[in-house]
Every structure is written in C-alpha cells, then in structure tokens.
C-alpha cells in the first residue's frame, strides 16, 4: 500500500490548529481571571510546573493550609520539597479531588490533608460553590477535573446543597461555566488592568511561595465571639456520614497509590463542638492506621501566642505559620523518608527561591490615622519619594492630605484606582505600581467602604516593600481592621 503523505500532513495541521486554539483559550482565561480570581486560589498553580516526582510532600485543604504551611521554609530548614495545593473555603469533597490530583501529578511520598472541612455542616460549608475555586485550579487537561465536576453536577446531595447556600454564594444552581477560568471570568474585560497582563504569564507570581500566602495581620482574641452549646447539643455531635465517606475514599486512595497519608489540624480558635469532632476524627484515624497531627493540642509546645500568632479567629498569621511549619518539617524529617536536597544541584530553583523567601520576613509597616492632618503627618514622616494612592470613594480630602504631606499631584503621586462602592475603576498610571521606581513604594489607602472589600481588591496592588498608610473618611476603624485582616505585604 502506497504511503500517502498528504492525509498525514493534513492531520498534523489540524492537530497544530487544535493546540494553538487550546493555548489561546488557556492564556485568554489566565489573562481575564487576573483581576477577578482570588489570587489565593492560584497559589497552588505552580505545582503544575514542577517536574513529576520532585515534590516530596503535598499539603491539601482549604485556607488553613495556605495560611499555615510554608513549604519553602521547610525546604530551607530540612531540605524537604513540598507544595500547598489549596483553595479558599474548600469543600471537603473538593479536598478529596485535590488529593487525587496531587497524587496523579507528583506521586509524593507523603500527602498531608487538612481536616477542618470534615467538621463543617455538609449542607452549608460544603455547598458546591465552595469548590468551584478548586475546579478552576485543576488543569483542563486533567481527568480528575472532569470527574470532580461530574460528581458535583450529578450528586443529588450536592444539588440540594446548591439551593441551601449559606448566603455568601450564588443562589442559582452552578453551571458548567463555573468550572473553567475563561468561562467564569470571560466578562472581566471591563476591569482589565496591569494585573491581568502579569497573570498572563501564569503562576510565576506565586512560584516562590510554593502555595503559601503570608498574612501579617494580628488578631485580638478578646474579640472572639462566644459560642456556647448545651450538654444535649454536645452529646449529639458526631461526624457526618458524608465526611466519613470522604475520609474512607481518601484512605483507600492513599493505599491504592502507596502514598503515606497524614491528617492535619491547623491551629485556630476551636469551639467545644469542633474539639469533640476532632477527637472523633483522631479516633477514626487511629482505627484506620493513619496518623493525625492535631496542632490545636500542641499550641503550648509550639509556642503559639493567641494574641500574636493569628490573623483572625480561623487562620494563623506569618509568625504562627512559621512555628507550625517548623514543627511539620521536624515531623517529616523524623520519618526518615526524605533525603536532604538543600545541596542537591537538581533543586537549584528551590535554593534560589529560598533566598528570595527570606526577604518576605520584613513586614510592611501599617499606620492607622484618624484624621486628615494625622495622615498628612504620617506620610510626611515616612519620607518617601513616590506615592501610589488607592482611594475609596472620591475623596477631596485625600488630595489635601497629600498636599499637606508635601506631595505634588503632578509629581510623585499616582492615583491608581478608585473604588466606587461596587468595583475598582483603574486610573492611568496604575502600571507604575508594578515597577520598582527606585526606593520603596508607598501605598496610601483611603476606604469609603468596609475595609475587607477594599483590601480584597487591593491586595494584588500591594507591592513588596510597602508601607501602608490607612486613612478613611467614613469609617477608619473598619478600614484599618480590614487592612489588617487581609493585607499581604512583601519585600523585594
């Protein structure tokens, strides 16, 4: 039979076209989600860029993972490579799929699963809206993604949970468009900024952190809400069948793939109900022969300080994360499973990231100001050459503050964005935030709305080496608290 070249060439051309189309869709999705997708949900994306078999330990779970575990620190101290693969408010069902994915990608020796998801009410915190973030993180070329989406869309209980949203998520049923970046954020062309262009490159931004997201806020435990339960309520506390089913699947998966599974409970302010559930989890894990490390029970030995090591009632801050990470690193080193890779030439990338990571330790200064005059004084005292201003509602007083502090509106001041109550409208010059213009950049925040909304949207604008001067015309206290709870400040 005569070999025909033409059909082969034609098939190759079709294939090339398909590849180009997929790449265009992927990068367009990356581009558009830059200003919308929670950057914390993209922190784990770098795992896809690690060579298979190079990551010794993966940590999966919700925000308790990316706020508590510092894989780069563990590498620095113990030579053990690790990566966080976690998304905000991740459903426990989602954690199972995340576990399947990381095992598929890396075949790590150890997989650490954070268990806060197992204690949540299945009809509320497990609503599928809480794992669209994970599904968007999963690669479109991964079969796990499609199985996860299919499980979500066909599981009757999940369908019920969709309609029982706890008020934070959408009331409408989820749609297939919720699980891909491009279709989720395709309308974000209205808010294109330099952030979008930066994110086009993919996870380079987050590669150094290995999925860790530092938080420098400090939480006052005196503001903890009081939660009380009756004796009867506590008697009825039990792990849900739903959680147990997922736990069993995790154990079976780990055994099937010869992965050492470790359950972890990151330290936070637990109530009596949660403590009972963790005790039940510990019993269950023991029966299954799986190790469970409850750091809530080791607060003293870890040296955790309630008044200094937490960013809010549920998460550690950077100081607290260091302590937990050192403990985790020691535990992993004691297993004897890992070779020290700190001098291994194949891990040069990790070694150079280690050098950069050290600089993160310098905390950006945070100043609260109660009046315009106060803010002007602070700004002047900081003696910076350049001001990038993110303003809340249009604020004429802000201009007076800057003028009083010696900043000329034409020189050294860049009004970057204005929050109009519902979204950020970027102004020209916003891209200057992205460049080091010689010396540290100063960001002055003035929020007319709740601080958390401001910070949630502006944390991506906060560059390294930042001193933050907070001044709000409407609610300084709230704005300051919001900045504290959400600000990420890094130095270069």
């Amino acid at each position: 039979m005569k070999f025909k070249l033409k059909p082969v060439l034609r098939a190759l051309r079709v294939l090339l076209f398909a590849v180009l189309l997929m790449a265009a869709l992927r990068y367009t999705g990356n581009f558009l989600c830059g200003s919308s997708e929670n950057p914390l949900n993209r922190a784990g994306e770098g795992l896809y860029y690690q060579l298979p078999g190079t990551v010794d330990v993966v940590y999966v779970g919700p925000s308790h993972v990316y706020s508590s575990i510092m894989p780069q620190l563990i590498f620095d101290q113990y030579g053990i490579t690790g990566y966080n693969f976690s998304t905000a408010a991740q459903s426990f069902e989602g954690t199972y799929w995340a576990l399947e994915e990381v095992i598929r990608l890396q075949h790590p020796k150890v997989a650490v699963v954070e268990l806060v998801g197992a204690t949540a009410d299945p009809t509320v915190r497990q609503a599928p809206i809480y794992y669209t973030g994970l599904c968007r993180l999963l690669s479109p070329f991964s079969p796990v993604k499609y199985r996860a989406v299919n499980a979500l869309m066909t599981d009757e209980k999940n369908s019920l949970a969709i309609r029982q949203s706890d008020g934070e998520g959408a009331a409408a049923p989820l749609d297939w468009t919720d699980f891909w970046r491009l279709t989720s954020f395709h309308a974000q062309y209205e808010t294109i900024s330099a952030q979008n262009f930066r994110d086009l490159a993919g996870p380079a931004l987050y590669a150094e952190s290995k999925g860790y997201s530092p938080n420098y806020a400090v939480f006052d435990p005196a503001s903890l809400p009081q939660q009380s339960y009756t004796a009867r309520q506590l008697q009825e506390v039990a792990l849900s069948d739903w959680s147990l089913n997922i736990l069993r699947r995790m154990v079976q998966l780990a055994r099937r793939t010869n992965t050492r599974l470790v359950f972890m409970v990151a330290p936070y302010f637990t109530d009596a109900r949660e403590q009972l559930l963790y005790a039940q989890l510990a019993d269950w894990a023991r029966q299954q022969g799986v190790e469970l490390i409850d750091y809530n029970k080791q607060k003293e030995s870890l040296g955790l300080n309630d008044a200094a090591d937490y960013s809010d009632m549920s998460h550690l801050n950077d100081a607290g994360a260091r302590k937990v990470s050192m403990a985790m690193g020691q535990y992993l080193a004691d297993t004897g499973l890992f070779a020290d890779k700190r001098q291994n030439g194949l891990y040069r990338g990790w070694q150079s990231d280690s050098g950069n990571y050290d600089l993160w330790a310098q905390v950006g200064a945070l100043y609260q100001n109660d009046s315009a005059a106060d803010a002007a004084q602070t700004l002047a005292a900081l003696n910076e050459d350049y001001v990038a201003v993110l303003a809340g509602t249009p604020d004429t007083q802000l201009a007076e503050v800057l003028q009083a502090a010696g900043f000329d509106a034409q020189q050294g001041v860049s009004l970057c964005a204005v929050f109009d109550g519902s979204s950020w409208q970027l102004q020209t010059g916003a891209d200057r935030l992205e460049r080091n213009v010689g010396g540290r950049k100063l960001v002055a925040l003035a929020s007319g709305e709740g601080g958390y909304t401001v910070v949630d949207q502006t944390s991506q604008y906060v560059e390294r080496g930042v001193a933050v001067c907070v001044y709000s015309t409407l609610n300084g206290e709230q704005a300051y608290a919001g900045v504290l709870s959400g600000l990420t400040a890094q130095t270069k």
């Binding site: 034609r10 051309r13 079709v14 076209f17 180009l20 189309l21 265009a24 869709l25 367009t28 558009l32 959408a170 409408a172 749609d175 297939w176 468009t177 919720d178 491009l182 279709t183 989720s184 395709h186 309308a187 062309y189 209205e190």
Partner: protein
C-alpha cells in the same frame, strides 16, 4: 439541549465523528437515534408525539401513493384528498390541542360571557412541546408533496422518521421540504475538510449572532418592555430597534448553527434568512425573513387559496368576484402566520399588520411607480434604496411591538410611551447605562451590530466563507481562533448573565 450548551458541544462532535466512521448503510439509523435523543433531552414523553406525527404522515404518503395506483376507477382523487385531510386533521389537531386549545377556550368563554352566558370551560394543563410547530409543518409538507406528485413516496419508515426529526433543524427550523432533504438521506457523504470548515465557520457566526448580540440586546429589550411606562419615547424606540436586532440574531443565529451543523455532516439545508433588514418592500422582507415558513405558507396556503377562487363561492357577493382573491388570501395567510407564532391576539394583530401592509404595497405599486417617474427619482440610487430600507425597517419595528408585548393592551401602552415624549438626551446623559448594560457592554453591542451589518451587506454579493477559506493559513487560523475567542469572551452567558433560550423555541 440548547445549541449554546456544553451538552451540545459534546453531543455534536460525537455524533458527527461516529457518523463518518460507521458504514454508510446504517448512518441514517445513527442519526435517527441521535435526533430522538436530542429531542428527548427536552422532554422524553413528547418524543411520542413526534413519532405519532411521523407515523401518520408516513402512512398518509403510502396511502396516497396506493390511491394513485390502485384506487377504484374515478375515485383516486377522492381517496387522495381523504388521506390528505386525515393527515392534516390529525396533525393540526394535535397542534391545536397543545398550542391553541386554551386560547380558543378563553375566547369562547369571553364570547359567551358577552352573550350573557357565564360558563367556566375546562382548560388544558399541558406544556407546549418544543418544536411542534416546526416538525408538524415539515411532516405535513411531505403529505402534500406526495399528493401533488412532487416527491416520491418514502417506503422506509425509519428514513422518513429521520427526515422529520433531523436534529439540527428539528426544534426551530428551517422547515425543510421533503424534496430537498429526503433525497439527501440516501447520499453517501464522505468527510470533506473544506466543507466541514465552512460549516463550522457558519456555526461560529451563528453563535456570535446568538450569544454576543441577541442575548446582550435582550437585556435592554426586557428592561424597557417590562417597564415601558417608566421610559420615554427614545428609550422605547431604541428598545424596539434592539428587539429587531435580537429576534433576527436569535433566529438567524439558530438557523446558521443548524445549517452549519448539517453542512459538516454533508447535508444541505435551505437558507432561512437573506439579509432581511435590507429589504425594500414588505413583500421583499418576507422573501428574506424566515424563508422556510413564508415559502411553506406560500406553497400550501396562499397559492391553493388563490387558485381555488374561494371568494367566488361566497354567498351574496360571490358572483361579483371576477379576479383571483390575491389580497384576501394574503391577509388570511398572514393571519395564519401570526397564529403560528403564538396563540395570542397580539400575534394575530402582528400577522394582520404584515398582511395589510403587503396588500397596501401591492395595491399602491402602480401609483408609486407613477410618482417615482414623475419626480425623476432614480429607483436604483443608493439614497432611494436606503430610504426604502429604512421605511420597511420602520414598519417591521412597529409590528414588533405587537410581537414582543405580552398582550394587545401592553402593546398599545408601549405605543403610548413611544409617542408620548421625545427625549433624545437620554442617549447622552448616562440613562442608557441604567437599562441593564454597562458602558462597555453597550460598546460591545454596538460594535457587534456594526460587524453584523457589514457582514450582511457583503453576504448578498460575496461568498464570505469561501473568501476566508482562500486566505493563507496564518490569516485563516487567526480568523478562526479570533472568532472562537470573541464568542467565548464576549458571549452573554455564565454566572453573571441569564442565558436566554432561543426565542423561537416557544413556537
């Protein structure tokens, strides 16, 4: 399943791939199974209705053919007419039951109440089966074509069933004719990359029309039509114009996806739209708009009415009639067209409006010609043609108020708002951005409409798809990838939007 759904994006390639892989002899069976699966995704039980309509019309074809060959001497025509009548009564009866029964009952109740008889008649609590108006007409056309001898009877029931249920055009047309589609079901289609690319490009264009333009325009249209009392004249006019764009893009978009999908598999469906808003008369408009329906009504309603000379049989005035009843038949045809679109008096009025304007157009044609000559107007000049197009577009827009409004009262209220005030400043003072679309969304809409207009302008004289396919690979691929990105990025779908179904699914 909707064309703009992930299910269809999986269904269509899977069906097409298997179509070209399996032996030619069983391909029609595969397509039949796929078509019924496609329909049953809407409602499995209503597939039985479609199957029933298929069986009745197929049998009627066989019986008509038998009557022509073997009926007793002199009775062939009688038998043929009987079988046609049975087929029409059964099919239209089912259509009437699901679509018009409640409308008829409600009006009968009103009539009785007006006559002093307050009677509560029972209604029918039934969902309108998707596409029933389309496949009923398509199936009936086969019966009528066999009766007229225009098409050979189809002896294979399954192949005939595929003709009725062919999924690309099943739920919203084009309403295919047996003489066009039935024969194609016997063709052995081989995969042709050029043809497939052309079909996919047409599908992409259809998606652009639907998800980028129609669904976006629908936001403003819904806002204004639902709250017309709060809006002034300019807003109401704007909304009607946008509705004209919406209904065109929605319907033409669907048709383009249908035609393109069929083309990928090697089938040639009829063109359903031909740049309708470039029409220069109402008659011209109807030769360009929903061509499959207008030609169906023309062939099976209008022409028989005209040639039957039915007006000569009317009591009292019949013997005064000397000419074929063209005008009255036209009115009746358009009344039927209005009713076909929906069981509501506003649709009837819409149909009547088009019928009357067509009659006026025909009656006034000699007069208009005289005056054009007298005034030395160059009939082929761009300015005159533009004037005609704008006039026709204006009249079509007026009819759309009846089409879009829920009731006649709402339509009249809308006209009241439209002519009640003149407020052009709303176009500049930011009011537009409170009608459901942001500034950027408006910009996207207007640019998209401009692209639509340009493409339609060229489409009449140029084979645009052929032009694209002749370009070097770099340009072609840039066009294809760009088009996909435009639809995916600017499409009006997803969590932030309400994905609107195709308008014509309700018919």
């Amino acid at each position: 399943m909707l064309f703009n759904s992930v299910q269809f994006l999986i269904f269509f390639p899977a069906v097409t791939l298997l179509y070209f892989v399996i032996p030619y002899r069983v391909r029609y069976l595969w397509l039949l199974a796929a078509s019924y699966y496609f329909y049953m995704c809407w409602n499995p039980r209503y597939a039985l209705l479609m199957a029933g309509s298929t069986l009745v019309t197929w049998l009627s074809g066989l019986l008509i053919d038998w009557a022509g060959r073997a009926a007793p001497e002199g009775r062939a025509q009688q038998y043929k007419k009987l079988f046609v009548a049975i087929s029409c009564v059964l099919n239209l009866g089912v259509l009437f039951l699901f679509k018009y029964a409640n409308f008829a009952i409600a009006n009968l109740q009103r009539l009785l109440a007006a006559a002093g008889l307050a009677v509560q008649l029972p209604g029918f609590d039934v969902l309108l089966p998707v596409g029933i108006s389309f496949y009923t007409f398509q199936a009936l056309s086969y019966t009528l074509d066999v009766y007229r001898g225009e098409v050979e009877v189809e002896k294979n029931p399954l192949r005939y069933a595929l003709f009725v249920s062919f999924f690309p055009q099943l739920v919203a047309g084009p309403i295919e004719r047996s003489k066009n589609l039935l024969g194609q079901l016997y063709e052995n289609h081989t995969f042709d990359l050029q043809r497939a690319k052309s079909g996919l490009l047409l599908m992409l264009w259809g998606y652009f029309e639907k998800v980028v333009i129609a669904d976006r325009a629908a936001v403003v249209v819904s806002e204004v039509f639902d709250h017309y009392a709060a809006y002034g004249g300019v807003a109401c006019v704007l909304a009607v114009v946008l509705f004209a764009v919406q209904v065109y893009c929605d319907f033409a978009g669907y048709s383009d996806i249908a035609v393109g999908a069929a083309q990928v598999m090697g089938f040639r469906l009829m063109q359903n739209f031909r740049q309708p808003y470039f029409a220069r008369s109402m008659a011209d408009f109807w030769s360009r708009w929903h061509i499959s329906l207008s030609t169906w009504l023309g062939d099976y309603v209008f022409e028989p009415l005209v040639w039957s000379g039915w007006t000569r049989k009317l009591p009292l005035i019949g013997h005064y009639v000397t000419k074929p009843p063209v005008y009255s038949s036209l009115i009746i045809t358009f009344l039927i067209s209005g009713l076909w679109h929906g069981a509501s008096w506003n649709y009837v009025l819409w149909g009547l409006f088009h019928g009357v304007t067509q009659v006026i157009g025909k009656m006034s044609k000699p007069l208009r010609r005289r005056w054009i000559k007298k005034l030395h107007i160059k009939a082929k000049s761009p300015a005159w043609m533009l004037w005609q197009q704008l006039l026709v577009f204006g009249m079509v827009c007026i009819s759309y108020v009846f089409f879009r409004a829920d009731t006649i009262g709402a339509a009249l209220g809308y006209f009241g708002s439209m002519f009640g005030s003149f407020d052009p400043w709303i176009l500049f003072d930011g009011t537009l951005y409170h009608m459901g679309l942001t500034r950027v969304q408006w910009q996207v809409l207007l640019v998209s409409i401009a692209i639509l207009w340009l493409v339609d302008l060229k489409r009449g004289s140029t084979d645009l798809r052929g032009f694209v396919q002749k370009q070097p690979a770099v340009i072609r691929w840039a066009v294809y990838i760009g088009a996909v990105l435009i639809v995916v990025v600017f499409g009006h779908y997803g969590p932030q939007f309400d994905a609107a179904k195709f308008i014509y699914f309700q018919f």
